[in-house]
C-alpha cells in the first residue's frame, strides 16, 4: 500500500475524468498515471536516494509525488524562500538526488555535489521516455514517501518523515473513494513544502476531484482563477482568507461556483470567520487542524457546526466558531498537564494525538511515546462536547509570575475591538514578573485606539494579569509566507523597542 495505489484506483474508476490542470488542457487520471509510471521508471534508473522539488506549486507536483512513489523514493519538497545557505545545506543533506527546479532556483545550489537538476518543463519528456522502462511496481508501505522540513517558527527546521502507511491511512480513513461529483475542482494555493500542499494531491485524487494549482498567491489572482475555472473547493491559510474576503467585499461579484472552503494552518481570527459566513452564506466552511507530523488533518469543524455556532445564542455553542472542531473518528486526542496526565474538559494543557496517520518521526529521532502518543507541542483544551480549542504553541506561552498565559486568548479579545485589524501577544523579559505581556497591534485603516483604551478593553473581558503591560502600534506583523506569525522575530523587535 503506497501512494501509487491511490492513483491506480482513481485511474481504474474514472480514467477519463480530468485529474489536474485547467478544463482546456488538463491531464486525465489515466494520463497522470501513465506519466507518473514513466517518470518513476526514469527516476529509479538514476540510482539516487531522494527526489526533491524547489519551485512554486504547479501541475508538476502531482506528477512528482506519484512518480517518486513509483520509483520507491522519498519526495522532498523544499522551501524555495529559504536563504541560499539554508537551501544549500538541505540540498546537501539529501544528495544524491534528482532536484526539480527552474534555472533561477537551480543556480542557487549549483555547487552541491551529487545533484541532478531537472527543469519542470522537462518532466513530460522524461515521463514519455520512461514509459518503455516501466515494469511491475512493488509497493512498500513502510517506505518513506515524503520528507518535509517543518517551518521552524519556534526553532531550527526539523526533517519530518512521513511513511506511505501514514499518508495512505489518512486518505483511506477520511476520504470516500470517488466521492467528488464530476464537476468538482479544488484550487490549491499552498506551496508544495506545506503539508496541505502534499495531502491535497492525495485526497483530491482519491476523491476524483480535479486539482488546479495557483503558482503564487495573491488574493486577486486567486479570485480570478476560482471564477475562471469554476472552482468548487479550496483550502486556504488564515491570512489568505482575510485578503480574499477583502477582494470579494470590494468587487461584490462573489464566487458563484464555490461550494466548500476549508481553512487551517494557523489560528483564524473569529472575526474573519464571521465575515466569511456573512459574505459566502452558501459556502460550506470547514476548519481543519493538523500538523506535518500527523499527515495533515486530525480535527475538523464542519459546515453545519459553523452554522449552528453562528446562529446560537448560547455562548458555549457560539464560541465553537473559534474551535477546530472534533477529532477525526480514526484518531484519538488527549489534553495533558505538565506531568503527562490527561486533564478534564475545560482545562488547558498540551495536545497529544494517536492514530495510524500519525508519524511523529523525524530524521533525528522519534517523538512518539511507548503507547504511540505524539506530543504536538500545541496548547489547547477540549470542551464538554469534545470540541478542541487550540491556543497556540507550547513554546509561546507567557509565564508571568507563577501564571501561564496563552497569547491566543488575549489576541482574540484584542481582535474583537473594532479598531484592531491584527493582534499578536508575546512575553517580554521583565525584572519584576519574569515575563510581561506585550501586545502588538495593527489598526484598521481610518480607525484609532489608544494604549489605555485597549488595556481597559482586555481588563474588562479577561483579568488584570492578562492585560498587556504595553501595547505597540505597528504598520504590519511579521508573518512567514504561509501566514504563520513569526513570534520570535516579533518578540525580539518588541524587546528592543
Amino acid at each position: 500500500m503506497d501512494l501509487t495505489m491511490l492513483l491506480e484506483m482513481a485511474a481504474e474508476g474514472c480514467p477519463d475524468r480530468l485529474a489536474v490542470g485547467t478544463k482546456a488542457d488538463g491531464l486525465s487520471y489515466a494520463q497522470l498515471q501513465d506519466r507518473a509510471r514513466g517518470l518513476g521508471a526514469e527516476l529509479k534508473a538514476r540510482g539516487v536516494q531522494h527526489v526533491a522539488m524547489v519551485d512554486v506549486t504547479s501541475s508538476a507536483l502531482p506528477l512528482l509525488v506519484y512518480g517518486a512513489s513509483y520509483a520507491g523514493l522519498p519526495f522532498v519538497p523544499l522551501n524555495y524562500r529559504l536563504a541560499d545557505a539554508q537551501l544549500q545545506a538541505m540540498v546537501t543533506r539529501i544528495a544524491p538526488a534528482v532536484v526539480v527546479a527552474p534555472p533561477e532556483q537551480a543556480a542557487r545550489f549549483a555547487d552541491v555535489q551529487g545533484i541532478e537538476v531537472v527543469s519542470p518543463d522537462e518532466l513530460g519528456a522524461l515521463a514519455e521516455k520512461g514509459a518503455a522502462l516501466a515494469g511491475e511496481h512493488e509497493p512498500d508501505g513502510d517506505a518513506v514517501a515524503v520528507l518535509l522540513f517543518t517551518s521552524g517558527t519556534s526553532g531550527e527546521p526539523k526533517g519530518a518523515v512521513l511513511r506511505a502507511s501514514h499518508l495512505v491511512s489518512y486518505v483511506l480513513s477520511s476520504v470516500e473513494f470517488l466521492g467528488a461529483d464530476e464537476d468538482e475542482a479544488i484550487l490549491v494555493s499552498v506551496p508544495p513544502y506545506h503539508i496541505a500542499g502534499i495531502s491535497s494531491v492525495l485526497t483530491s485524487v482519491y476523491a476524483g476531484r480535479r486539482m488546479v494549482q495557483l503558482a503564487s498567491f495573491s488574493p486577486e489572482a486567486w479570485v480570478e482563477l476560482a471564477r475562471r475555472e469554476a472552482i468548487t473547493q479550496a483550502m486556504v491559510v488564515p491570512t489568505m482568507l482575510g485578503r480574499i474576503l477583502e477582494v470579494l467585499e470590494r468587487d461584490g461579484q462573489g464566487l458563484p461556483a464555490l461550494r466548500h472552503l476549508s481553512y487551517g494552518g494557523g489560528r483564524m481570527p473569529f472575526t474573519v470567520v464571521e465575515r466569511a459566513l456573512a459574505l459566502l452564506p452558501d459556502v460550506d466552511l470547514v476548519n481543519a487542524y493538523g500538523l506535518t507530523e500527523t499527515s495533515s488533518t486530525i480535527a475538523v469543524l464542519g459546515p453545519q457546526e459553523h452554522r449552528d455556532a453562528a446562529a446560537s445564542e448560547d455562548p458555549a455553542v457560539r464560541r465553537r466558531l473559534g474551535s477546530v472542531g472534533r477529532p477525526l473518528p480514526s484518531v484519538e486526542i488527549e489534553v495533558r498537564d505538565v506531568d503527562g496526565l490527561a486533564v478534564q474538559a475545560g482545562e488547558q494543557g498540551e495536545i497529544y494525538v494517536r492514530g495510524e496517520q500519525v508519524s511523529g518521526e523525524y530524521l533525528s529521532h522519534r517523538a512518539l511515546d511507548e503507547e504511540g502518543w505524539f506530543p504536538t507541542r500545541d496548547r489547547g483544551w477540549l470542551d464538554e462536547d469534545g470540541f478542541l480549542y487550540v491556543d497556540g504553541r507550547a513554546d509561546d506561552v507567557i509565564v508571568r509570575g507563577a501564571e501561564n498565559l496563552s497569547p491566543g486568548e488575549i489576541e482574540d479579545v484584542l481582535l474583537a475591538h473594532p479598531a484592531v485589524a491584527e493582534a499578536a501577544v508575546v512575553g517580554i523579559p521583565d525584572t519584576e514578573w519574569g515575563e510581561a505581556v506585550n501586545a502588538a497591534v495593527v489598526l484598521v485603516a481610518g480607525r484609532s485606539a489608544t494604549e489605555q483604551e485597549l488595556q481597559t478593553w482586555v481588563r474588562e473581558r479577561l483579568r488584570s494579569s492578562k492585560t498587556p503591560a504595553r501595547v505597540h502600534f505597528l504598520p504590519a506583523l511579521p508573518h512567514n509566507e504561509t501566514g504563520k506569525l513569526l513570534r520570535r522575530v516579533l518578540r525580539d523587535e518588541l524587546a528592543t523597542a
Binding site: E12, S165, A207, A288, G302
Partner: protein
C-alpha cells in the same frame, strides 16, 4: 497476512489490499475460491454459486468475526468472503474535505 498484503481473485479481475489484518489466520476468497497473494493475471477458476454478487472498486469490506478489513482496488464479478462467510461493505464515514 499483514496490512498492505495484496490479494488477487482466482475467478475474476478483482484485487484487494488488506487494510486491517485478521486476529488469526483466515482464508480470504473471491467468488468462493481462495485469493492468491501478489500481482498477476486474473485467474480462470469457476465462480461458485452464491458468491457472484461482485466486488466493487473503492469499497471497504469487513469481517467483524476475524477483524479483517479489505479495500477493493479493482472490481470484479466475484463476491468477497472469509472462510465461506460473505463480507459486508463497511459504511463510508462522511467527513468534510479539509485539504
Amino acid at each position: 497476512m499483514k496490512a498492505g498484503t495484496r490479494l488477487r481473485s482466482g475467478v475474476c479481475t478483482a484485487t484487494v489490499v488488506v487494510v486491517r489484518a485478521p486476529a488469526s489466520p483466515v482464508s480470504v476468497e473471491c467468488g468462493g475460491q481462495p485469493m492468491a497473494e501478489g500481482a498477476g493475471p486474473a485467474g480462470e477458476a469457476e465462480l461458485a454459486p452464491g458468491y457472484d454478487g461482485g466486488a466493487l472498486l473503492g469499497k471497504r469490506y469487513e469481517d467483524p468475526a476475524s477483524g479483517l478489513e479489505l479495500l477493493c482496488t479493482k472490481g470484479g464479478a466475484g463476491s468477497l468472503s472469509v472462510d465461506g462467510r460473505l463480507l459486508s461493505v463497511k459504511d463510508a464515514k462522511s467527513l468534510p474535505a479539509s485539504d
